[in-house]
Amino acid sequence: MSDREVLVIGGGPAGVAAALEMARGGLKVTLCEQGPRLGGAIHRQPDDPSRRVRVPKAQRQRWQALAEALAASPVTVLCRHMFAGVEGSGAVLLEDRASGRIVTRHPAALVLALGGVERATPVPGWQLPGVVTAGGLQMMMKSTGRAPDGDVLLAGSGPLLVAVAAQLTALGKAPVAVLERSTSAVSLRALAGLIRAPAYLWEAAGYLLPLTKAGIRLQRGASVRSIVPAGDRLSVTIVDTIGLEQRLVVDRVALHDGLLPNGNGTTPAPNGPFTVLAGDCREVLGGVAAIADGRLAGLAVLARLGQAAPDLAGAAATLRRERRTQSALNTLFDYSGSDAAHLPDDTVICRCEGRTLGQLRGMLAAGDRVSAREIKLNGRFGMGACQGRFCAEWVAAFVASQRDGQPPQVAEIVGSRWPVKPVPVSAFVDLPPSSPSE
């Protein structure tokens, strides 16, 4: 085995597949995961098998195979280690949550498998407690094996809404309604793309049939217009294709408008190690592609470090197939932004600091052409604790819609400085410097 360490960030399918490939190729691999357990957002399960949330069989088997291979491998796994970035000298910074310390590593290569983040489109009231992302709601369900209490409304766009609705229904807690904002019809081209990937059609049928049987309201072309508190509950105004409004009172609203690559921290650092992105943080293609992409990332590292690398033509073919399927799916859930004209000025855009659409409109109306950096530094959009993960893309699209010419780039608004997530100052100064084996 080579004595050169390689580091993988992210314990989902892409990260685990990359770690395994590099370990097989003879490298010393350390796998870091921010949460207490591996599996990523897709493969989360409670310990108690009697409580497991139903997932497609093939999905369960994919993770089981990875988990078994990992257990049999020499890969070192560090859970509760947050990736804080690559600092100026090229050291990789990790925050060890159990000890509260920053640890530094100088790996020969770095694989970033940071996953995706959900897109949620701003609506008045989306900052209220009880409003969550559909993935956040699913995470609760998957980890506890229990349905969240209270009435749930699912809204936005994307196949995840239907999957979460089916899982809620299977746990005896059918959602009040599922609102899909897209109105695009199924085209022959999209259908042809999906028929080539029958697993997705089976998965869709597995979700849709129980929903139809349970009589769940699935409404296309409908979306949430606003959310206001109603005592302990939430009063939601929804609007349909012809503009009719209706009010629903629920306990939780789960929003989702597709997935975006989690790009924060992925900009190459000047003195940093050879870095490869893998899985949804490189390109959102889902769980099957993530494994193939992780293997290919591992292969790239092996080749770079001069280790013998296997032929992974199969993984490359899988990636191409999943890309075709994803593009067919995307035509069914064609998120093309939502019309911001109807959004009132007091709509919160930056959830971290409560910056509003009125403040953004004011900046744009002030005369001088506002740069991406000014949007952040003066407008404070993308400045808060989430570092623009839930507003930067929307802000960039909104600014582009308001003027001609070059739109501001999300990466420019966000910037690329470490730490990529908030780290307590005490992790740097209160404790003696750590000296991990490097």
């Binding site: 207490p36 108690d48 407690p129 992302t133 956040g136 980890s143 971290c352 600091e353 808060g384 839930f390």
Partner: protein, 86 residues
């Protein structure tokens, strides 16, 4: 294994939890949705569930951590964070 005897403290109140539950999940089951004063008129609350949005950040034994990523442990002192001024 489910046990109701294990608990952590949230602003001094005992919150029971199941093994492998995060602080956020145990608080949600206890019916607690408001996790702090938050920033800019946005209340602290659970949102993304994967440690990205930072909205569920609470104080855990004196250190700020995302409630959705932090495993519940017996005796942890978890507190809402008062409003952060900018």
């Amino acid at each position: 294994m489910t046990s109701t005897s294990q608990a952590f403290l949230f602003d001094g109140k005992a919150i029971p939890f199941d093994s492998n539950e995060t602080i956020a999940m145990a608080l949600d089951r206890a019916g607690i949705r408001t996790l702090g004063a938050g920033q800019g008129n946005s209340t602290g609350r659970y949102f993304c569930g994967i440690g990205t949005c930072q909205a569920c950040t609470v104080s855990v034994d004196g250190t700020r951590m995302e409630a959705c990523l932090t495993p519940a442990r017996i005796g942890l002192q978890v507190e809402r964070i008062a409003s952060v001024s900018l």
